[in-house]
Protein backbone atom coordinates (compact mmCIF):
# COMPACT_ATOMS: atom_id res chain seq x y z
CA UNK A 1 0.00 0.00 0.00
CA UNK A 2 1.05 3.66 -0.17
CA UNK A 3 0.27 6.29 2.46
CA UNK A 4 -0.48 9.77 1.14
CA UNK A 5 -0.49 12.82 3.46
CA UNK A 6 -2.47 15.69 2.01
CA UNK A 7 -2.81 19.11 3.55
CA UNK A 8 -5.89 20.37 5.29
CA UNK A 9 -5.24 23.99 4.56
CA UNK A 10 -7.94 26.51 3.80
CA UNK A 11 -10.74 24.82 1.89
CA UNK A 12 -8.87 21.61 1.28
CA UNK A 13 -8.69 21.62 -2.49
CA UNK A 14 -7.00 18.31 -3.07
CA UNK A 15 -8.56 17.95 -6.50
CA UNK A 16 -5.27 16.76 -7.88
CA UNK A 17 -4.77 14.32 -5.03
CA UNK A 18 -8.35 12.96 -5.24
CA UNK A 19 -7.90 12.17 -8.92
CA UNK A 20 -4.57 10.48 -8.30
CA UNK A 21 -5.90 8.34 -5.48
CA UNK A 22 -8.78 7.32 -7.74
CA UNK A 23 -6.23 6.37 -10.43
CA UNK A 24 -4.08 4.37 -7.98
CA UNK A 25 -7.13 2.60 -6.52
CA UNK A 26 -8.36 1.80 -10.03
CA UNK A 27 -4.91 0.31 -10.68
CA UNK A 28 -5.49 -1.98 -7.71
CA UNK A 29 -2.88 -0.13 -5.61
CA UNK A 30 -4.20 0.19 -2.06
CA UNK A 31 -3.92 3.67 -0.62
CA UNK A 32 -4.31 5.14 2.88
CA UNK A 33 -4.97 8.90 2.90
CA UNK A 34 -3.99 10.96 5.96
CA UNK A 35 -4.97 14.62 6.23
CA UNK A 36 -4.39 17.56 8.57
CA UNK A 37 -6.19 20.91 8.62
CA UNK A 38 -4.76 23.33 11.18
CA UNK A 39 -6.11 26.40 9.34
CA UNK A 40 -9.65 25.01 9.41
CA UNK A 41 -9.19 24.25 13.12
CA UNK A 42 -8.19 27.89 13.71
CA UNK A 43 -11.24 29.11 11.77
CA UNK A 44 -13.56 26.85 13.72
CA UNK A 45 -12.13 28.05 17.04
CA UNK A 46 -12.69 31.64 15.94
CA UNK A 47 -16.22 30.92 14.63
CA UNK A 48 -17.00 29.47 18.05
CA UNK A 49 -16.04 32.83 19.55
CA UNK A 50 -12.63 31.77 20.94
CA UNK A 51 -9.03 32.60 20.18
CA UNK A 52 -6.61 29.98 18.84
CA UNK A 53 -3.64 29.88 21.23
CA UNK A 54 -0.08 29.28 20.03
CA UNK A 55 2.87 29.00 22.37
CA UNK A 56 6.62 28.79 21.86
CA UNK A 57 8.32 25.63 23.04
CA UNK A 58 11.68 25.46 24.78
CA UNK A 59 13.32 24.50 21.47
CA UNK A 60 11.76 27.49 19.70
CA UNK A 61 9.05 25.61 17.84
CA UNK A 62 5.68 27.34 17.74
CA UNK A 63 2.82 24.97 18.51
CA UNK A 64 -0.86 25.10 19.33
CA UNK A 65 -1.81 25.01 23.00
CA UNK A 66 -4.87 22.72 22.94
CA UNK A 67 -7.02 23.24 26.02
CA UNK A 68 -10.39 21.49 26.48
CA UNK A 69 -12.35 24.03 24.41
CA UNK A 70 -9.78 24.03 21.61
CA UNK A 71 -9.80 20.23 21.65
CA UNK A 72 -13.59 20.15 21.19
CA UNK A 73 -13.31 22.57 18.26
CA UNK A 74 -10.40 20.51 16.88
CA UNK A 75 -12.50 17.34 16.90
CA UNK A 76 -15.46 19.12 15.28
CA UNK A 77 -13.30 20.60 12.51
CA UNK A 78 -10.99 17.65 11.85
CA UNK A 79 -12.98 14.47 12.52
CA UNK A 80 -16.29 16.16 11.71
CA UNK A 81 -16.10 18.68 8.90
CA UNK A 82 -12.83 17.91 7.08
CA UNK A 83 -12.77 14.12 7.38
CA UNK A 84 -16.43 13.72 6.38
CA UNK A 85 -16.30 16.23 3.51
CA UNK A 86 -13.04 14.76 2.18
CA UNK A 87 -14.45 11.22 2.41
CA UNK A 88 -17.50 12.39 0.40
CA UNK A 89 -15.18 14.01 -2.16
CA UNK A 90 -13.27 10.73 -2.62
CA UNK A 91 -16.50 8.77 -2.86
CA UNK A 92 -17.74 11.18 -5.51
CA UNK A 93 -14.57 10.35 -7.49
CA UNK A 94 -15.37 6.64 -7.26
CA UNK A 95 -12.98 5.84 -4.41
CA UNK A 96 -14.60 3.59 -1.75
CA UNK A 97 -13.37 5.83 1.08
CA UNK A 98 -13.93 5.18 4.80
CA UNK A 99 -13.17 8.09 7.10
CA UNK A 100 -11.53 7.32 10.44
CA UNK A 101 -10.00 9.38 13.20
CA UNK A 102 -7.19 8.02 15.34
CA UNK A 103 -9.72 7.32 18.10
CA UNK A 104 -11.65 4.84 15.95
CA UNK A 105 -10.57 1.31 16.84
CA UNK A 106 -7.58 2.89 18.62
CA UNK A 107 -6.12 3.47 15.16
CA UNK A 108 -3.56 6.01 16.49
CA UNK A 109 -2.95 5.62 20.20
CA UNK A 110 -0.54 6.78 22.84
CA UNK A 111 -0.15 8.56 26.17
CA UNK A 112 -1.83 11.95 26.50
CA UNK A 113 0.52 14.79 27.36
CA UNK A 114 -1.42 17.16 29.60
CA UNK A 115 1.54 19.52 30.23
CA UNK A 116 3.98 21.27 27.92
CA UNK A 117 7.10 23.39 28.47
CA UNK A 118 6.82 26.85 26.93
CA UNK A 119 8.65 30.14 26.91
CA UNK A 120 6.43 33.16 27.58
CA UNK A 121 7.86 36.69 27.81
CA UNK A 122 11.26 35.12 28.29
CA UNK A 123 10.08 32.98 31.19
CA UNK A 124 10.28 29.18 31.08
CA UNK A 125 6.90 27.79 32.10
CA UNK A 126 4.91 24.59 32.33
CA UNK A 127 1.40 24.95 30.87
CA UNK A 128 -1.11 22.34 32.11
CA UNK A 129 -4.43 21.25 30.60
CA UNK A 130 -2.87 20.46 27.21
CA UNK A 131 -4.57 17.86 24.98
CA UNK A 132 -1.90 16.37 22.74
CA UNK A 133 -0.17 13.03 22.65
CA UNK A 134 2.61 10.89 21.27
CA UNK A 135 1.55 8.17 18.83
CA UNK A 136 3.03 4.95 20.16
CA UNK A 137 0.80 2.40 18.44
CA UNK A 138 -1.05 2.06 15.15
CA UNK A 139 -3.90 -0.44 14.63
CA UNK A 140 -2.44 -1.78 11.39
CA UNK A 141 -4.88 -4.72 11.39
CA UNK A 142 -7.87 -2.39 11.19
CA UNK A 143 -6.33 -0.68 8.15
CA UNK A 144 -5.24 -3.99 6.57
CA UNK A 145 -8.76 -5.40 6.97
CA UNK A 146 -10.34 -2.38 5.29
CA UNK A 147 -7.72 -2.34 2.51
CA UNK A 148 -8.27 -6.06 1.88
CA UNK A 149 -12.00 -5.35 1.48
CA UNK A 150 -11.24 -2.71 -1.14
CA UNK A 151 -11.72 0.39 0.99
CA UNK A 152 -9.51 3.49 1.03
CA UNK A 153 -9.13 4.65 4.65
CA UNK A 154 -9.12 8.46 5.04
CA UNK A 155 -7.41 9.06 8.39
CA UNK A 156 -7.03 12.19 10.51
CA UNK A 157 -6.24 13.27 14.02
CA UNK A 158 -7.38 13.33 16.81
CA UNK A 159 -5.51 10.31 18.16
CA UNK A 160 -6.65 8.17 21.08
CA UNK A 161 -4.98 9.67 24.17
CA UNK A 162 -4.63 7.34 27.14
CA UNK A 163 -4.46 8.90 30.61
CA UNK A 164 -2.45 7.55 33.52
CA UNK A 165 -5.72 6.74 35.33
CA UNK A 166 -6.90 4.55 32.44
CA UNK A 167 -8.99 7.32 30.90
CA UNK A 168 -9.35 7.58 27.12
CA UNK A 169 -9.82 10.94 25.44
CA UNK A 170 -9.34 12.36 21.96
CA UNK A 171 -6.12 14.43 21.77
CA UNK A 172 -4.30 16.50 19.15
CA UNK A 173 -1.55 14.91 17.08
CA UNK A 174 0.51 16.13 14.13
CA UNK A 175 -0.88 14.79 10.85
CA UNK A 176 2.57 14.40 9.25
CA UNK A 177 3.75 12.26 12.17
CA UNK A 178 0.44 10.36 12.10
CA UNK A 179 1.07 9.57 8.41
CA UNK A 180 4.61 8.52 9.30
CA UNK A 181 3.37 6.20 12.04
CA UNK A 182 0.83 4.62 9.64
CA UNK A 183 3.44 4.19 6.89
CA UNK A 184 5.86 2.61 9.35
CA UNK A 185 3.24 0.25 10.77
CA UNK A 186 2.16 -0.86 7.28
CA UNK A 187 5.71 -0.94 5.90
CA UNK A 188 4.34 1.29 3.16
CA UNK A 189 5.86 4.05 1.04
CA UNK A 190 4.90 7.53 2.25
CA UNK A 191 4.07 10.54 0.10
CA UNK A 192 4.17 13.85 2.01
CA UNK A 193 2.55 16.49 -0.18
CA UNK A 194 3.52 20.01 0.73
CA UNK A 195 3.39 23.49 -0.80
CA UNK A 196 6.91 23.38 -2.26
CA UNK A 197 8.50 20.99 -4.75
CA UNK A 198 10.71 19.27 -2.15
CA UNK A 199 13.64 19.96 0.16
CA UNK A 200 16.06 22.58 -1.13
CA UNK A 201 19.70 22.77 -0.07
CA UNK A 202 19.14 26.55 -0.25
CA UNK A 203 15.44 27.31 0.04
CA UNK A 204 15.99 30.59 -1.79
CA UNK A 205 17.57 28.91 -4.81
CA UNK A 206 15.10 26.81 -6.84
CA UNK A 207 17.96 24.98 -8.55
CA UNK A 208 19.09 23.35 -5.30
CA UNK A 209 16.24 20.79 -5.02
CA UNK A 210 17.67 17.73 -3.29
CA UNK A 211 16.38 14.86 -5.42
CA UNK A 212 17.22 11.94 -3.17
CA UNK A 213 18.91 10.80 -0.02
CA UNK A 214 20.21 7.26 0.27
CA UNK A 215 22.79 7.46 3.07
CA UNK A 216 22.77 8.79 6.63
CA UNK A 217 25.04 11.59 5.45
CA UNK A 218 22.52 12.54 2.75
CA UNK A 219 19.81 12.54 5.38
CA UNK A 220 21.81 14.78 7.63
CA UNK A 221 22.27 17.26 4.76
CA UNK A 222 18.54 17.27 4.31
CA UNK A 223 17.92 17.75 8.02
CA UNK A 224 20.30 20.73 8.05
CA UNK A 225 18.66 22.25 4.97
CA UNK A 226 15.09 21.81 6.20
CA UNK A 227 13.85 24.86 8.06
CA UNK A 228 10.78 25.33 10.22
CA UNK A 229 7.79 23.78 8.51
CA UNK A 230 9.92 21.57 6.27
CA UNK A 231 11.87 20.40 9.32
CA UNK A 232 8.68 18.88 10.67
CA UNK A 233 8.19 17.03 7.35
CA UNK A 234 11.74 15.67 7.41
CA UNK A 235 11.27 14.57 11.05
CA UNK A 236 8.13 12.72 10.01
CA UNK A 237 10.00 11.14 7.07
CA UNK A 238 12.73 9.91 9.42
CA UNK A 239 10.16 8.48 11.82
CA UNK A 240 8.38 6.70 8.96
CA UNK A 241 11.61 5.11 7.70
CA UNK A 242 12.75 4.16 11.20
CA UNK A 243 9.30 2.67 11.78
CA UNK A 244 9.44 0.42 8.73
CA UNK A 245 8.46 2.51 5.72
CA UNK A 246 10.44 1.66 2.60
CA UNK A 247 10.64 5.09 1.02
CA UNK A 248 9.40 8.63 1.63
CA UNK A 249 8.58 11.16 -1.09
CA UNK A 250 8.33 14.88 -0.19
CA UNK A 251 6.71 16.62 -3.17
CA UNK A 252 4.54 19.47 -4.43
CA UNK A 253 0.83 19.26 -3.63
CA UNK A 254 0.08 21.76 -6.39
CA UNK A 255 1.75 19.89 -9.26
CA UNK A 256 -0.48 18.18 -11.80
CA UNK A 257 -1.07 14.61 -10.69
CA UNK A 258 0.86 15.39 -7.51
CA UNK A 259 0.89 11.85 -6.09
CA UNK A 260 1.78 10.09 -9.34
CA UNK A 261 4.51 12.71 -9.95
CA UNK A 262 5.83 12.24 -6.41
CA UNK A 263 5.94 8.46 -6.84
CA UNK A 264 7.89 9.12 -10.04
CA UNK A 265 10.50 11.01 -8.05
CA UNK A 266 9.51 14.60 -8.94
CA UNK A 267 10.35 15.83 -5.42
CA UNK A 268 12.79 14.66 -2.75
CA UNK A 269 12.98 10.89 -2.24
CA UNK A 270 14.44 9.52 0.99
CA UNK A 271 15.35 5.84 0.92
CA UNK A 272 15.19 3.36 3.79
CA UNK A 273 18.99 3.15 3.47
CA UNK A 274 19.23 6.77 4.67
CA UNK A 275 18.30 5.51 8.16
CA UNK A 276 19.56 1.92 7.83
CA UNK A 277 22.90 1.02 9.29
CA UNK A 278 22.79 4.02 11.53
CA UNK A 279 23.28 2.73 15.13
CA UNK A 280 21.07 5.53 16.39
CA UNK A 281 17.56 4.26 16.92
CA UNK A 282 14.52 6.40 16.12
CA UNK A 283 14.65 8.33 19.43
CA UNK A 284 18.22 9.52 18.89
CA UNK A 285 17.35 10.42 15.34
CA UNK A 286 14.68 12.65 16.78
CA UNK A 287 17.01 14.37 19.23
CA UNK A 288 19.47 15.30 16.57
CA UNK A 289 16.50 16.94 14.87
CA UNK A 290 17.48 20.54 15.56
CA UNK A 291 14.54 22.41 14.21
CA UNK A 292 15.66 25.95 13.53
CA UNK A 293 13.34 28.62 14.87
Amino acid sequence: PVVVKIGGAKAVDPAGAVGDVAALAADGRSVVVVHGGSTVVDETIERLGMEPEYVESASGVTGRFTDADAMEAFTMAMAGKLNTELTALFREAGVDAVGLSGVDGGLLSGPRKSAVRVVEDGKRKIRRGEHSGKIESVNADLLAGLLADGYTPVVSPPMEGTESDGGVTPVNADADRAAAAVAGALGADLVLLTDVAGVYADPDDPDTLIESAATPADLEAIEDAAEGFMGKKVMAATEALSGGSGRVFIADANATDPILAALDGSGTTIEQSAVDGTDEDAEDAEETEAVDA
Binding site: G8, G36, G37, S38, V41, S57, A58, S59, V61, G63, R64, T66, F74, M78, K113, A115, V116, R117, K123, R124, K125, I126, R127, R128, S132, G133, K134, P157, V171, N172, A173, D174, A175
Partner: protein
Protein backbone atom coordinates in the same frame (compact mmCIF):
# COMPACT_ATOMS: atom_id res chain seq x y z
CA UNK B 1 1.94 43.41 55.68
CA UNK B 2 3.75 42.12 52.65
CA UNK B 3 4.36 44.69 49.98
CA UNK B 4 4.70 43.98 46.31
CA UNK B 5 8.46 44.07 46.45
CA UNK B 6 8.75 41.57 49.33
CA UNK B 7 10.54 38.47 48.07
CA UNK B 8 8.32 35.40 47.75
CA UNK B 9 9.66 32.60 49.92
CA UNK B 10 9.14 28.93 49.15
CA UNK B 11 10.45 25.58 50.30
CA UNK B 12 12.70 23.54 48.01
CA UNK B 13 10.72 20.25 47.75
CA UNK B 14 13.94 18.26 47.47
CA UNK B 15 16.26 19.82 50.04
CA UNK B 16 13.60 21.50 52.20
CA UNK B 17 15.63 24.70 52.22
CA UNK B 18 13.98 28.08 51.81
CA UNK B 19 14.22 29.63 48.36
CA UNK B 20 13.59 33.19 47.34
CA UNK B 21 11.40 33.49 44.27
CA UNK B 22 11.36 36.53 41.99
CA UNK B 23 8.63 39.03 42.95
CA UNK B 24 6.88 38.64 39.59
CA UNK B 25 6.83 34.85 39.86
CA UNK B 26 3.82 33.24 38.13
CA UNK B 27 2.02 29.94 38.57
CA UNK B 28 3.53 27.41 36.19
CA UNK B 29 6.87 29.17 36.05
CA UNK B 30 10.03 27.02 36.13
CA UNK B 31 12.56 28.01 38.81
CA UNK B 32 16.08 26.53 39.03
CA UNK B 33 16.78 25.41 42.60
CA UNK B 34 19.79 27.51 43.74
CA UNK B 35 21.01 24.57 45.83
CA UNK B 36 20.61 21.54 43.56
CA UNK B 37 20.01 23.28 40.21
CA UNK B 38 16.99 21.05 39.67
CA UNK B 39 14.15 22.61 37.72
CA UNK B 40 11.17 23.30 40.00
CA UNK B 41 7.61 24.11 38.90
CA UNK B 42 5.56 26.74 40.75
CA UNK B 43 2.43 24.67 41.36
CA UNK B 44 0.57 27.43 43.22
CA UNK B 45 1.19 30.79 44.87
CA UNK B 46 -1.50 30.59 47.48
CA UNK B 47 0.00 28.79 49.36
CA UNK B 48 3.35 28.87 47.56
CA UNK B 49 4.10 25.29 46.47
CA UNK B 50 6.96 23.99 44.33
CA UNK B 51 7.44 20.56 42.82
CA UNK B 52 10.14 19.04 40.66
CA UNK B 53 9.33 19.99 37.07
CA UNK B 54 8.44 16.99 34.87
CA UNK B 55 10.53 15.96 31.88
CA UNK B 56 8.41 16.76 28.83
CA UNK B 57 9.11 15.67 25.24
CA UNK B 58 7.82 18.00 22.55
CA UNK B 59 4.93 16.47 20.64
CA UNK B 60 3.07 19.30 18.99
CA UNK B 61 -0.17 18.49 17.18
CA UNK B 62 -1.98 20.25 14.29
Amino acid sequence: MTTDTDPVLAEDPITGEEIELPADVEVGEIIDSPVTGTELEVISLDPVTLEEAPELEEDWGE
